[in-house]
Amino acid sequence: MKHNEILEKIAYCIEYGKIDRNSPFPPNLKGQDGAGEYTQMALEKGIRADDVLRMGLMQGMDRVGKKFRENKIFVPQVLMSAKAMNSSMEHLMPFFTSGEIRSKGKFIIGTVLGDLHDIGKNLVSMILKGNGWEVIDLGIDVSSEKFLDALKEHPDSVVGLSALLTTTMANMKETVEKIKDQNSETCVAIGGAPVTREFCDRIGADIYSPDPQGLVDYLNQRYNAG
């Protein structure tokens, strides 16, 4: 198999959520190799890890993000794609550790104080990872102080705040204000079902996107990291 064919196989497996040979999903690929095996094959064939990331994993997740934005796929399919991506990523982790692959940047993410929902946050995390960002996931019910502590540890990070409840949007506002007070240059992204562009502008956040791909596009443009 040619190098570009292997990379396309990786992208395809991620796009359709094929984790590995043992995974029964999707049914039409049952018994066939998945993202994990093709990633291993790519590295064994001498394809540079950075190329595997950019031309395999990122290609696949880019397609996933666009299909999700267009309502061609929904959350279960994105979760399966993320699992397939993780299967590939396991093979690439040593190259991140050695510095052979560099991430596009760091992204601190969490669901704001009082909000226990994690599905939106997780989707954004998965799609950002698949697009080459290092994600620092603070979890759910995250206080402003915890976001600020994480920023002290990772000072150049972008920060993403998620809220599913209308009631917790007030906590989002407070956290954005505290982050901006500490460093007005920090880029803050917000998202979640009740959040709107108008709300984003009102509380001084930098970007609101109704879908993860919009955030990816914004970050790629802002940080010239496409």
Binding site: P24, N71, V75, P76, M80, K83, L116, L165, T167
Partner: protein, 335 residues
């Protein structure tokens, strides 16, 4: 004509009504409005009933409800629930962690668990106080929502893709539980059963059709057999599911603010009552005058739809009481 007769007229297309009914979803807001914490509201039926009746009177609402949080059935299945004073109750553990857990999961007796029994007692309390003159909405978790409560949202949604057999088994048990809980609430006096299947908006039409729709239809048909009606509540944008939701036979469909009422009415048929769908953030954040205006405009724009006026989802705790009064006033002024 009392409120129950008004609702029956709306449901049966009788012409005695010259306007819309008003029935927003209240939980934390109702608790605070009556000076109680959310924890008290969610754990004590007397407080829940008293808070809802007070809200009905203060905001001239046309129905009362037993909705409080998603974890009544989950508690009965064995989860530990904690009640923070001013936040939604928290589920502290996942009941389902493996296919073996699903196989051994027993459908509980709703009369033997404190949380499910509390809601049944609430239905009885409403009957005692309101004497059947106001429609009482009971509440159950829909099959997919309950499965997610038991297994975790991400875990359940991936199980649907990876292990249809286990998914079906769990969904069957959740369906059985929903029917059992609905039966108890109808027997206790509920006229309508609200079925919250919040997560459905996040799944594609094929997955909804394969795993959820027939189970919702089974529950709805069962409730109809008991002589009650069903209000289906799915949070978020359900536009992609509307043609299939029609097949469930739900009498009332809640539509969140992202859904076009005109598209929903066209897809669901004009017999279905829509309940919605003003953005709750606007009701919370706008001025009293603005809320009055946007509610009136909303009613004018949807005069040809069988509608119960409500927010797209729950009225938030921070909504000024004056704004909810303005919303109610706009509904009445359209009569």
């Amino acid at each position: 004509m009392n409120k129950k007769q008004q609702f029956e007229d709306l449901a049966n297309n009788r012409n005695s009504l010259a306007g819309n009914l008003f029935s927003p979803i209240l939980m934390h807001f109702a608790a605070r409005h009556s000076g109680k914490t959310y924890a008290e509201f969610a754990s004590n039926y007397k407080i829940l009933v008293e808070a809802n009746i007070r809200a009905m009177e203060d905001f001239d609402m046309d129905m009362v409800s037993l909705i409080s949080d998603p974890y009544r059935e989950t508690a009965a299945f064995g989860a530990k629930i904690e009640f923070p004073a001013e936040a939604v109750p928290k589920c502290m553990n996942k009941v389902i962690g493996s296919p073996d857990d699903i196989r051994s999961l027993a459908v509980p007796d709703v009369y033997r668990n404190e949380r499910t029994l509390d809601r049944i007692r609430g239905a009885e309390e409403y009957s005692r106080i309101l004497k059947g003159e106001v429609p009482v909405i009971g509440w159950i978790e829909g099959p997919l929502a309950e499965a997610c409560d038991l297994a975790g949202v991400s875990e359940m949604l991936m199980m649907l893709m990876m292990d249809p057999g286990s998914s079906n088994l769990l969904l069957d048990k959740c369906t059985e539980m929903a029917k059992s809980f609905a039966l108890a609430q109808v027997r206790a006096g509920c006229d309508i059963i609200g079925m919250g299947d919040a997560v459905c908006s996040q799944v594609d039409p094929d997955t909804y059709g394969s795993f959820v729709k027939d189970r919702q239809r089974e529950i709805i048909s069962f409730v109809h057999g008991l002589g009650a009606r069903v209000k289906l509540h799915i949070c978020g944008d359900i536009t992609h599911l509307l043609p299939q939701i029609r097949e469930t036979g739900a009498d009332i469909v809640d539509i969140d603010w992202q859904v076009s009422p005109k598209k929903a009415a066209a897809a669901l048929g004009h017999e279905t009552i829509l309940c919605g769908n003003i953005n709750p953030v606007l009701i919370q954040d706008k001025t009293e005058e603005d809320v009055y205006g946007l509610t009136g405009k909303f009613i004018q724009e949807h005069k040809d739809i069988k509608l119960i006026v409500s927010a797209g989802c729950e009225i938030t705790v921070n909504t000024p009481a004056a704004n909810l009064k303005a919303m109610s006033g706009a509904v009445r002024d359209q009569w």
